[in-house]
């Protein structure tokens, strides 16, 4: 088995087409996009100003500190408050395009209302307000217990807590993860190529058939070799992305879970390949076309070629998150690459991927079994 793996990896690594499509092309995508997005990473970059429809029905006790916070110079740099008298009017304002989100202070409750899918600006705003309410609640508790408030207004903005670098993915980080998942999906190409080479009495496979080796051993070894190549590609992609563009702070990355996610998503790509190979009554040319089409569609829908297109997909088909694994898995992977990422999302996505693998594996097995029975006649 080791002989098969050794020589198969050697062959794949010498194949120019493989090298281009599997290694060079993803790097070109990352490189091209990195250059394109370099402006985004420049020091001059500022978040776009968000128009916030502000509706207040509270007491001075809550209103004054909040408004003082919101009019702080740092906050004003990226939000513009537009006061409204009622929630209905604010909603009309949002619908008319006069505001992007609604911030409602009702009594002691502070709520940020916006339509899904959220943009990164809304995420930033929500994170800041969460920070604000946490500090405000702490102050209220201290006041109620008769302890003097230790914070002045200017201290409400905890520079470390609201430092979102390492917590929120940059476009390049987002894109790197998407491309890496798509790269793993390319595993399906390897499987169809492998099946094409296994035509009885044809080419080098004839010698394999004539040799004293079990077919299952041969297939397993070749699948493992392709798996190894995909893992190498993923390592190269992340290495390139990190060392060329300084994406992902390595001190934040959970390498064990990252490796696990690579193994899982590669298994997904390989299993997709097996399903397509098992489809009955189709020529290998057609199967190649199906794989091409499948990967291209998933890449487009999940924002692999056009960053952000996944938001369009999710807007029209929210269920797509659970059907197109790459979208869901991406969120899981980002969670383990960024500081304070929610690993729950990662484990959920891994669980869902496991379900996908079981379903796809079962379909593949049943199709292959059916084809064998059909062939026996």
């Amino acid at each position: 088995m080791w002989t098969f793996i050794k020589y198969d990896v050697k062959q794949r690594m010498r194949d120019r087409a493989t090298i281009f499509w599997m290694l060079i092309f993803p790097l070109i995508l990352i490189f091209g996009l990195g250059t394109m997005l370099s402006a985004v990473f420049s020091d001059e970059f500022k978040l776009p100003v968000t128009d916030v429809a502000y509706v207040e029905s509270s007491t001075d006790q809550y209103r004054e500190p909040l408004e003082s916070f919101l009019t702080d110079e740092d906050i004003q740099a990226f939000i513009r408050l537009v006061p409204y008298d009622s929630l209905e009017e604010a909603e009309t304002g949002v619908n008319d395009g006069d505001a992007d989100v609604i911030l409602q202070l009702d009594g002691s409750d502070l709520t940020l209302l916006y339509e899904e899918p959220a943009t990164i600006e809304f995420d930033v705003l929500e994170a800041i307000l969460t920070q604000y309410t946490a500090i405000a609640n702490q102050q209220i508790s201290l006041a109620e217990s008769g302890v003097a408030a230790p914070y002045e207004n200017e201290n409400w903005l905890d520079s470390e807590s609201v430092d979102l670098s390492g917590k929120t993915p940059s476009s390049l980080e987002y894109f790197t993860v998407t491309i890496s998942i798509m790269t793993a999906l390319f595993g399906s190409f390897y499987i169809t190529a492998m099946a094409r080479e296994e035509q009885p009495n044809t080419g080098s496979y004839l010698r394999i058939q004539a040799a004293p080796v079990q077919t299952i051993q041969y297939r397993l070894a070749r699948t493992v070799s392709r798996y190894v190549i995909i893992l190498l590609q993923l390592i190269l992609l992340f290495w390139f992305s990190h060392f060329v563009y300084r994406t992902f702070d390595l001190s934040n990355v959970q390498f064990g879970t990252l490796f696990l996610s690579w193994l899982a998503i590669t298994a997904y790509g390989v299993t997709v390949g097996f399903v397509i190979v098992s489809l009955p009554k189709l020529s290998y040319t057609t199967k190649d076309a199906v794989v091409n089409g499948f990967v291209a569609i998933i890449m487009i829908l999940s924002g692999g070629y056009v960053p952000g297109f996944d938001q369009v997909t999710l807007h029209y088909a929210p269920w797509a998150e659970y059907v197109f694994m790459p979208i869901f898995m991406r969120d899981g992977m980002l969670a383990i690459l960024l500081r304070d990422g929610d690993t729950t999302v990662f484990w959920q996505s891994l669980g869902l991927l496991g379900i996908h693998l079981i379903i796809l594996g079962t379909i593949s097995y049943l199709l292959a079994k059916g084809a064998k029975r059909h062939g026996a006649h």
């Binding site: 010498r14 009885p200 004539a210």
Partner: protein
């Protein structure tokens, strides 16, 4: 005990009967020829013997072991040189051969020794670092052979190993095959080039439409179909009267004269003396005499009514 015993093998592909009740015996050490036109079933016969396609019916015993029951044990002792060059384009000549050596269970060190021996045997030492696309047709064929014999098999199937190559490479390959046989390997050689089979093989089976229609040594096969011999004599001059006299000789079936040759068809094993005496009496000078015996092609034509390359 035969090294190969096939009994009543049948193999169908859909409605096509590729092998039709085929039975065959090959003895150890033989260089055995399977002769037949394209599509006769030669390659299918090899494939079935190696269980690349399972037979629909019949029994196969190789090395006195049963196929497919003892498949792996049999395959360990068998080598194949396929009709089409079957190697990996991304591996060098050396790596290709070493890969197949390792496939037959040799350790990397043993495989290296076997590889070097195989490369030297097919005279590819100067090309061992090249990849197959860099090799000429003849060199590719030699690589194809090296990959099939690197594990020193006792039984080698060679399926038209000289197709589409230059005469020089063909001669080298034919000499390689003879040498393998001299070293003790039993060789099953398929071809539709009857000249090669005539040159190489001790015994021959003629295959047509999935059946063995004749089997034996070359002389045995020729004797089965030979009723006439043709004497071709170069003469200086010939008169119509003399032609008539020759035609009237006993055992002469047909006479044709196309200056300067006279071709006389005689019954098999007829002495030439009466014919030569007649020429001598008429003062006809003759300078060369050849007697044509039938070729395997003639045998095939006589048995099937078609030529080998139809």
């Amino acid at each position: 005990m035969p090294i190969i015993e096939l009994d009543h093998i049948t193999k169908r592909f859909g409605d096509t009967v590729a092998l039709n009740d085929l039975s065959l015996r090959v003895e150890p050490g033989e260089l055995f020829g399977l002769l037949g036109p394209n599509g006769a079933g030669k390659t299918t016969a090899i494939s079935v013997m190696l269980n690349l396609y399972p037979a629909d019916s019949g029994t196969i015993r190789i090395f006195d072991q049963s196929m497919p029951k003892d498949e792996l044990a049999i395959k360990r002792r068998v080598g194949i040189v396929p009709q089409h060059v079957s190697v990996y384009d991304q591996l060098t000549v050396y790596e290709n051969i070493q890969f197949f050596a390792e496939l037959y269970g040799f350790s990397p060190t043993e495989a290296k020794q076997k590889t070097e021996a195989a490369i030297a045997f097919v005279e590819l030492t100067a090309h061992q670092k090249k990849r197959p696309p860099e090799l000429s047709g003849g060199l590719l064929r030699r690589l194809n052979i090296a990959c099939g014999i690197v594990h020193e098999p006792e039984l080698i199937f060679m399926d038209e190993p000289t197709v589409a190559i230059d005469p020089q490479s063909r001669n080298t390959i034919l000499e390689n095959i003879r040498e393998l046989n001299r070293r003790g390997a039993t060789i099953i050689y398929t071809s539709h080039y009857m000249e090669e089979v005539e040159m190489l093989c001790d015994r021959v089976a003629i295959v047509d439409e999935g059946k063995i229609i004749a089997e034996g040594t070359q002389d045995e096969l020729k004797d089965r179909v030979m009723t006439l011999e043709t004497a071709r004599i170069k003469v200086d001059a010939l008169t119509p009267n003399l032609l008539e006299r020759i035609e009237s000789l006993e055992h002469v079936q047909k006479v044709e004269y196309e200056e300067p040759f006279i071709e006389v068809s005689l019954d098999k094993d007829t002495p030439l003396a009466p014919l030569l005496d007649t020429l001598h009496q008429e003062h006809v000078h003759f300078t060369s005499i050849t007697v044509d015996r039938p070729s395997l092609n003639t045998v095939f034509l006589a048995l099937t009514g078609k030529t080998l390359r139809e």
